[in-house]
């Protein structure tokens, strides 16, 4: 999973962006409440020092399906 460095020095798991699918429309940048996304060179990238809260809105709004926010499914220990 792609990681980003947060301000507190911890690593944060971030969404997966497929640069081949991204058309640079910027819709995900607009909806991201964490301001974790930025358009660079016509494709979207994660800003590495911002923590993503995994709202998955970017995945929902991307018209090209270029962003993935996968979930790990675990069972809580008793």
């Amino acid at each position: 999973m792609p990681l980003a460095l947060k301000e507190d020095g911890e690593m944060s798991i971030v969404p997966v962006i497929d640069p081949q699918k991204c058309r640079g429309c910027g819709v995900c940048v607009t909806v991201c409440a964490c301001e974790a996304l930025v358009l660079q060179g016509g494709v979207v990238r994660i800003i590495k020092d911002v923590a993503c809260d995994w709202c998955t809105l970017c995945e929902a709004v991307c018209p090209e399906g270029a962003i993935s926010c996968p979930f790990e499914i675990v069972i809580e220990e008793a």
């Binding site: 497929d18 675990v74 809580e76």
Partner: protein, 262 residues
């Protein structure tokens, strides 16, 4: 690289004119000057762990390894396309592959997710004709493949393989029947509950994560419905949604919602 360009959500997949030839290495070709016993041993060990070939003796196993090819694929790479002339029967060595059908409108229905040790493209290899579904790598995958004619040869030479083949195909039919049952009789929340139960991380190796879009494609619903169902399951206290994790807090309740019998 065989990527399936959808042209955007809802648009049908475009033709794969730009599909590059996959990197395929045949073990028979390696049997000459570049024979590598380490690779061949790894192949034999893997095949002996699969449902098709677990009944073969060591000598029989050695006799069939030359029919197999190895292949890798990256995340999102299309391994085979629906309706194209039949390609090899594949076994997943590592990673995960989704097998899916696509409607003319571009909607995707995942038929199954193939994990290490399992196979895909079984039916068209034995039935002939064209691939029944497409297959896409969910992450980096390593595969072994065997062509139709070689698989038929092995079945003739080793009847035990033919018997085990029937078991594999029977299991796949049972899974597809269960999928039809879920799509026909369960509500969306029940289907999502079952999907969560079936994709729990087992802690043994690389965890297979699912996006809400993938859950929607398995459940035969829209992504928005998946989000609502997850919220419902959380309100019912069957699961807890965390950052990039879904925690099953009450497995029995989730099984009840999923309609899973013991």
């Amino acid at each position: 690289m065989g990527r399936r360009s959808t042209g955007g959500k809802g648009a049908p997949p475009v033709a794969n004119q730009n599909r590059t030839k996959p990197q395929v290495r045949y073990f028979a070709e390696s049997a000459g000057s570049c024979y590598n016993p380490i690779i061949m041993t790894a192949l034999e060990d893997f095949l002996s762990s699969t449902a098709y070939f677990s009944g073969l003796s060591a000598a029989d196993m050695e006799s069939i390894t030359g029919y197999f090819s190895s292949r890798t694929a990256g995340r999102g790479e299309i391994i085979l396309f629906e309706a194209e002339p039949v390609e090899p029967l594949y076994f997943v060595v590592s990673g995960a592959v989704k097998v899916f059908k696509t409607s003319p409108e571009g909607k995707e229905q995942i038929l199954e997710i193939i994990r290490p040790g399992d196979s895909f493209n079984d039916v068209p290899v034995f039935e002939g004709g064209h691939n029944l579904a497409s297959a896409e790598a969910l992450g980096p995958v390593a595969l072994y493949g065997i062509k139709k004619q070689n698989m038929e040869l092995i079945c003739r030479q080793h009847p035990l393989v033919a018997r085990d083949m029937l078991r594999v195909l029977s299991t796949k039919i049972a899974r597809l029947v269960a999928l039809v049952e879920d799509l026909s009789f369960k509500n969306v929340t029940g289907r999502i509950a079952k999907i969560l139960l079936e994709h729990v991380a087992d802690g043994r190796g690389a965890t297979q994560r699912l996006t809400q879009q993938e859950m929607a494609a398995i459940a035969g619903t829209a992504r928005e419905m998946v989000g609502r169902s997850l919220k419902t399951l959380e309100e019912d206290k069957a699961i807890r949604l965390e950052k990039h994790r879904i925690v099953i807090v009450d497995k029995e309740l989730l099984r009840e919602i999923a309609g899973v019998l013991n």
